[in-house]
Amino acid sequence: MVITIDGIECECEYGEFLRDIATRCEIEIPALCNHGGLPGQGCCRVCIVEVEIKGWKTVVASCIYPVEQECIVYTNSDKIKRQRAMVLSLMRARAPASKEIELLCSKFGASRNERFIEQEGEKCILCGLCAKTCESIGSGAISTINRGINKDVSTPYDEPSEACLGCGACSEICPTSAIEMEEQGSLRKIWGKAFDLVSCEVCGKPYATTQELDRNAKVLGEPASRLCDVCRRKAIADVLAKTFGS
């Protein structure tokens, strides 16, 4: 099937999600709650686009919109620009401390909305991407709790969680840098718990927690590599170079 996105023809399969197709065709659709490694959630609504089928136009969230028939997609029509700016200005009221949202706001011309009280110091937009990540890597230490205006992200009972490996994936994936992770020397603090960091055998940089490596070893069934990702990549490249010659 071929669809048109912003005038560019894109080859795609039935049922593929619109944002994935656009990304593959190097058409940028902004998004906060969407990450390539996880299924779309459609909750931040920044990735909205206009889809035209047989002359009918609808606004959809591209990260969760499966393409089922030929269509024309507009990622930057006037309507989308207006609506995206509105979504962003609401988000800024929720999370005024987030630099990422501020940046998107200025990029898409979202004006300050005086009607809504800003939540001072807040960075989290409650998209739940962190909780999804934690669950999908198998820890499940954090989750969204409560609902409505009381919704939050937390460990059970707001206590340091036994399940937390201190891997920091939640902090890394957070689109608004809302999860604090402190690192000092070989000590890492996250979600109210302190972790000892293991240093890379080659470059000596602290790179992972003991708990993380123990879990990796358990999953792999063999001791996990004691190299940081940079050194590990180098080591693999060396092996490849030796095997195939330069």
Binding site: G140, P156, Y157, A163
Partner: protein, 160 residues
């Protein structure tokens, strides 16, 4: 407050009376709520072990539904309707009076563990507004003057 000690065995047999499938989590938690007046931490942990799922996902579920609570509720749960009809007929005043009478705010439990106060949405009996439900018993067109009497009666009933 006087709470019956929670027996691990009892929780275990409750959990095992259901199939080992995560979709039963909510029903089991509802059972716990009925038996213990709250979802005890031991219960959540046992449930997580049974389903081999993270405690956090069950905690998320337990905090999502208002019908479940993580703190012990009082022996007598007072639900005051704050639907439109009841609201117009003065449910806000009623809530205030109950608060003064028992010294609790909505969502709280009295120190002696006798009463919990909850605000609920329309109970569907608008003709009886304002409506108050205590232990599934409906009190219609409640006036502030009646409150002390109602609560005393419930307390006496408990003593017997």
């Amino acid at each position: 407050m006087a709470l019956e000690a929670i027996s691990k065995q009892e929780i275990k047999s409750l959990i095992e009376s259901y199939e080992n499938d995560r979709r039963h989590a909510l029903r089991i938690m509802q059972d716990m709520q009925r038996i213990y007046n709250y979802v005890p931490r031991e219960g959540l942990e046992a449930l997580a072990e049974r389903f081999s799922c993270p405690v956090s996902s069950l905690y998320s579920l337990a905090t999502f539904y208002r019908a479940l609570s993580l703190k012990p509720k009082g022996k007598n749960v007072i639900k005051v309707c704050d639907g439109t009809a009841c609201h117009i007929r003065g449910s806000a005043n009623l809530i205030g009076s109950i608060g003064r009478e028992l010294d609790i705010a909505p969502g709280e439990t009295t120190e002696d563990g006798m009463f919990s106060l909850e605000l609920v949405n329309c109970l569907g009996s608008c003709a009886l507004a304002p409506v108050m439900v205590v232990n599934e018993k409906y009190y219609s067109k409640v006036s502030m003057g009646q409150l002390a009497g109602i609560f005393n009666k419930i307390r006496e009933g408990e003593d017997q």
